[in-house]
Amino acid sequence: MNRRHRPTLAVWKFASCDGCQLSLLDCEDQLLAVAGAVEIVNFPEVSRAVVKGPYDLALVEGSITTPHDAERIRAIRHASKHLVTIGTCAAAGGIQALRNFKDVKEFASIVYARPEYIEALGKSTPIADHVFVDFELRGCPINKLQLIEVISAFLNDRKPTIPPSSVCIECKRRGVVCVMVSRSVPCLGPVTQAGCGAICPAYTRGCYGCFGPKETPNTAALSARLRHLGVNQQDLVHAFRGFNACAGPFRKQSEADEK
């Protein structure tokens, strides 16, 4: 065999900030190796070429917020062997899912002089609400090294090694003194999935949950603890209603705290 098929990689954007796909470009040491291992056929950040599917691996960033995008994601799924979502927008609806607790028409009228020109769905929803997703990589933004791990895993037909444990575990590994125990700083680390490297506690601030809920999080216990530390009701609701406002356990907790 002298013609080896290189798997094709396509990157797609929905409602998002672009940060997760830019993480791929931030892999300065690995980018050219990735570009050698796969054929990057759609990546508007660095290429004007657009190649038709099918694609071996689709990386999807962003949430679904318009009728047009709800159609577009179906077409992408149809053309892709594997579909991996990258980031919190795609996994949970992102910060723009704060509209889900309000009236989107009112939101549009705050920003736009002619809200009737704006096509927006009432809710910002994750990709998995619309199509089958092979793997969700979490984070706002994702950790670029985890992205390399996920791409390698799919190229080699294995499951990605992404620990579902909490940020607390990363603090212990990094030798960071617990900010909540030692300094009474409110921290979402106990209920938030690892992956960032516990950067916020390492910089002496509390985790704000950008990687979303860990596996089986005890949000009620943390909420009670935060209340005990003097966090008022509004701040408590906002703590769980941030970048992962519509991730199941966080949404339920903010709704419980709101009552």
């Binding site: 940060g19 931030d26 950040e45």
Partner: protein
């Protein structure tokens, strides 16, 4: 009468969704629309009711390519409402953070988005095969910017270390010093970049723009996070007068609001605006290198923005080295402040140009109202006006060549439509 519609769908490499619609009649442009269909996320709406302390982290999510610019602008606007002004080492550290984002963003824009157009490659990855040394330089330059962001910000995208009043945590002196060696390499690499891009061939294109940027008439600093709003046509106002002079208009075909200067129309923000209005405040090395590359103190051809970006990259390396060399660790990571009700305003220079944030806050520190105007939104009308002049002049080019040249023209500007719409 010959009428023709040109549709250019999706114009990568830009961040987000844009399409260009042009209809021609008898060789001139009858209608032209830069259609931005990026879905709005309604930041100004959901910021209402959130605490002031959340604004930097929330607004960074407007843009994955210049999150620090949004964080800094939010911090400065809210500090303005509280009557806090940072001085000394905290101010210097914020300038250093901006240097990091400029180096990273400019290196990406020059090498990954603009250079492939000039050299005739459809993508930076194809270009890398024929120009491996150039791509190595690009990635290491970008990495140098990212190292500053990683150290001072905690991570490169959506850093976590900025707060109202200063920072959460200060770097150790030794950590800052460790950046210097790479920055010295980066300064040389940026000079090399200036020389490399200055040799490209530039379409003959100029318009009589109104350039708008921050400027410090009394200081000898190139602007990052402070200054007055000035232009080459006599604008000279304080940042809090922004809303009295600039208008945002909602056009049917775009989710990005179009900005104009009241009574004067479209204006130009970005590296060239900064350069033209602040050339004398660039470091001597940056000025010398620009002149040696044949770039005067004023550059009006938007295709030459690639050279200006390279000069600014060189300046950012120089400035970062100056800050690190003279740095004295402050006593506290943040200044004391008391929150109070009021309105705060700030403009900063994001890599792509002028960025404006305004917040009204209530007595409990909740945001009542927010306004955010990004560089890419401010340039929408200017880009359309460029295309109105460029297309008729080049209408006899083959269609695919014309399409590519229009894309190239758009990529002269900060192309972030996530920012433009937000």
């Amino acid at each position: 009468m010959k009428s023709e519609a040109i549709n250019l769908d999706c114009l990568p490499p830009v961040e987000g969704e844009t399409a260009l619609f042009v209809s021609m009649e008898d060789g001139s442009v009858a209608d032209l629309q830069l259609r931005n269909s990026e879905p709005p996320r309604f930041f100004e709406a959901f910021l209402r009711g959130r605490n002031f302390s959340e604004a930097p982290d929330i607004t960074s999510r407007i843009c994955g390519s210049s999150p620090v610019a949004h964080q800094l602008t939010a911090c400065h606007a809210i500090e303005n409402a509280f009557g806090v002004t940072l001085e000394g080492p905290l101010r210097e550290l914020r300038r250093l953070l901006s240097c990091g984002e400029w180096i990273k963003s400019h290196a990406s824009h020059i090498y990954l988005r603009q250079a492939p157009d000039f050299l005739g490659y459809e993508s930076a990855i194809r270009m890398a095969k024929d120009h491996p040394a150039g791509m190595d330089r690009a990635l290491r330059l970008k990495k140098t910017g990212n190292q500053i962001l990683g150290l001072l910000g905690g991570r490169e995208i959506h850093p976590i270390n900025l707060r109202i009043g200063g920072f959460y945590n200060l770097p150790a002196r030794g950590e800052l010093a460790s950046l210097a060696e790479n920055l010295k390499w980066a300064r040389d690499a940026a000079s090399e970049t200036v020389r490399w891009v200055a040799k490209f061939s530039f379409p003959d294109f100029e318009r009589d723009y109104e350039f708008v940027a921050l400027g410090n008439p009394d200081e000898d600093e190139y602007p990052f996070n402070e200054g007055r709003l000035i232009s080459n046509k006599g604008l000279d106002i304080s940042v809090r007068e922004y809303d009295a002079h600039f208008l945002e208009e909602h056009v049917r075909y775009s989710t990005a609001l179009h900005s104009t200067l009241r009574g004067r129309g479209a204006y130009f923000v970005g590296p060239q605006a900064r350069y033209n209005l602040n050339f004398d405040n660039l470091s001597p090395l940056a000025q010398e290198t620009a002149r040696a590359a044949g770039l005067g103190a004023v550059s009006r051809n938007p295709f030459q923005s690639i050279i200006v970006r390279a000069v600014e990259t060189l300046y950012a390396c120089d400035e970062a080295l100056r800050i690190i060399e003279h740095f004295e660790l402050p006593e506290h990571p943040a200044a004391d402040f008391r929150s109070r009700a009021g309105i705060g305003y700030a403009c900063t220079e994001a890599p792509g140009g002028l960025l404006y944030h305004r917040y009204s806050l209530d007595i409990n520190g909740a945001i009542l109202d927010a306004k955010i105007v990004s560089p890419s939104a401010q340039n929408q009308k200017t880009i359309e006006n460029d295309l109105r002049q460029f297309i008729p002049a080049n209408i006899h080019s083959p269609k695919n060549k014309l399409q590519w040249q229009c894309e190239q023209l758009i990529r002269n500007y900060a192309t972030c439509v996530s920012c433009a719409t937000h």
